[in-house]
Amino acid sequence: MVRITLGGAVLRGTVSTALMASLISAPALGAPPVDLSKWSPEYVRSIAGTQDFDTAADCAKVTPLDYKGRLTFWYQGVFEGDPDLLRQYYKDFFATFRKTYPNIQLEDQALTYNDLLDKFRTALLGNAAPMAVRLQILGGTEFASKGYLQPLKPEDVGYSTEDFWPGAMKAVSWDGVTYGIPTNNETMAFIWNADIFKRAGLDPDKAPATWDDVVKYSKQIHDKLGIAGYGLVARKNAGNTPYRFMPQLWAYGGGVFDEATANPTYKKIELDSPQSKAALQASYDMYVRDKSVPVSALTNQQADNQPLFLAGQLGMMISHPSDYNVMLDLQKKATGSDKDKAQTVIDNMRYGLIPTGPDGKRAVVFGGSNIHILKPEYVEGGKVDEPAAKAIICMWTSPEWSLKMAYAGSNPGNLNGFKTKWMKERLDNIKFLDVTTSMLPYGIPFPALPQSPEIMNIIVPDMLQNALTGAMTVDQAADDAAKKVKDLMGGGL
């Protein structure tokens, strides 16, 4: 049960007006399908189920349903941390596509988040890439800037640019050209175990308001109960790390560059600013000083935190609404008394807004995935079947499937997805969805730079590890990371 006043929380949110404007302002012609300025859980509920869409009919206008062709397609698929519900939707999508386009020979390959970029880069070097690819939001700019991708905008598959989050469209643009279409956009939320809070002497129905509170609560939980307080994640080469540390960094007023501002220029490096160091210090305090987070945080991913949370050994973490379903899936696999223990944890699972920094700033990574078409010269065989590629892109980014494929964990890339009957059903079925949709206006996209994957997957986790292992002081680790970013941006070896 969520005890926070969600709509009010959004309105009270102290995120900068400029940032909000950046995310919700429509950049081009025409009105967006939903009024982003009214964004609140109540508004989302009011529009859910108000419009019907016929996906096959819409996509037939892009690629005729009897079109005969062949398509190779890679996508970031489900992984061990996803709920079974999502697995089923992925199966349903591909079955539906094959039924809708029976003459398109589809060769699809799913890859996990942490593997996709490496494999895709390798395939590109050998001109053996697939014709179309669905990449994490972090990857689009890198490949667009290198010239691997074809220009592709929503209008090319029958939609309008205004049908998608403006912030998400920035992540698929390079040098003013659009190279992809968002499939889903996600913001995470703060999750805690009310029973652990109660036993530790904390208010069970109140999330920590600030990151300083997270540090304090984590210590209190650890000291009183002997279990880990906050589910810190600091593994290198794992997407989970930046998704959990960047909100903290931004909330303290820091950043890698100025990506948290309305119009980022990415010119000034901020990783060594006092605010960024304060954020790093908070992690240091939890891991080193208080020892109140899992020791295994340096080698763990969020998928490792999930069983800890379910076992009642972890008090707080940041994750998707889908974690509730993941807990249910894991609980089904438990046996004996473990099953009851797991049920107690599930009953005590609470979702809230991610805490703010000292000056009231709240932030979360505006994540998600985008879908792209490759240039023929980088594709195996040297040919791209564009109608076939557009057919699958039209389907995946449709209001129906962009919602269904994000059913448990995220939000539809196509804003019309919020108007579908499936959204209404989802609001009833997926617990805590209100909280994560409430976090959307606080979302900050990763810097739209080709260097972003290295910064987020290697340099930022390295900074954390250097500080948390004592290999460097907090100041040294932040300065070292800032220098690495500087060298990277300067084209150093």
Binding site: D118, R121, T122, L125, E142, S145, K146, G147, Y148, A228, A234, R235, K236, N237, A238, P294, V295, S296, A297, L298, T299, L308, Q313, P450, Q451, P453, E454, N457, I458, P461, D462, Q465, N466, L468, T469, G470, A471, M472, L488, G491, L493
Partner: protein, 319 residues
Amino acid sequence: MTIVSGKTEVRQRLQPGWSGMLRKIWDHRADYAYVVPAIAVMLIVIAYPIYYTIELSFFNTPPGLQLRDKIFVGFDNYTAILTSEVFWKVTWNTLVWTFVSTFFSFVLGFAAALALHRDFIGRGVLRAILIIPWVISAVAASYIWKWIYHSDFGIIGAILVEFGLADRPPNFIDSVGTVLPSLIVVNIWREFPFAMIMMMAGLQTVPDQLLRAAKVDGANAWQRFWHVTFPHLRNVSTVTILLLAVANFNSFIIPWIMTGGGPSNASHIWITHIYELAFGRQRWGVASAYSVLLFLILMTLGYFYVRALSGNERKDDSA
């Protein structure tokens, strides 16, 4: 063994130089025809990648550019590597990893081979059990050990805490001080069966009559081992150690899966570092320069390996 007729030998002596060599090739044309496909495959999958890696090592490949737009930088990549702190840290890790893993894998494997060389009940079962670490997938083993070592819920930690031997689970792989030794233990566990098999094979070649003669002459067990058994195993030991050393220099799976080279680069060895440079950071040029250096080291080891094998052959021939 090649049989050369007396007539051919005479013709070879009469036609020195190129024509003699061509004649020799012609005489053995069938042999060459058989090895041509293998050589062609080797040229494609080994020679070309080596050439391309050497070429790439002279270029800068910034992440914002395609590989074809690489920038020539001469020896800058080599200079950057040799002057970087990370290089020396990773090199030290690699040396520790390789030498400690090789030494203990060999010693344990040799000891196990000596123990299993005796005849006792259950020897076959024990031998099969000891081979298990070597035959199971390295990936599966890495994941299992990751959980055994888990800093919060690992089985070792749980046992120590349960028996009151520790207040909290020891930190095996999340500490810069303990991560490399912990990974080396896993590597030794996986590799010692290989040394055991090699040495068991070697032990079969020790002549029994020599051991019996030594015993008759009054040599004790240690003297029989040191003066009879060990000299017979010198070549197989050399080959085993070299193979282990090459395999350890090239190790990737255990450190990459268990720690990804972390925390704070404390378990990065050359191969994992090269992988991260190339595929994680897209520094293909620097990664190639690292690979060239590693190639040279491995070629040196390979030279000694071939020499050891040749030594064996010469010894066999003279026997």
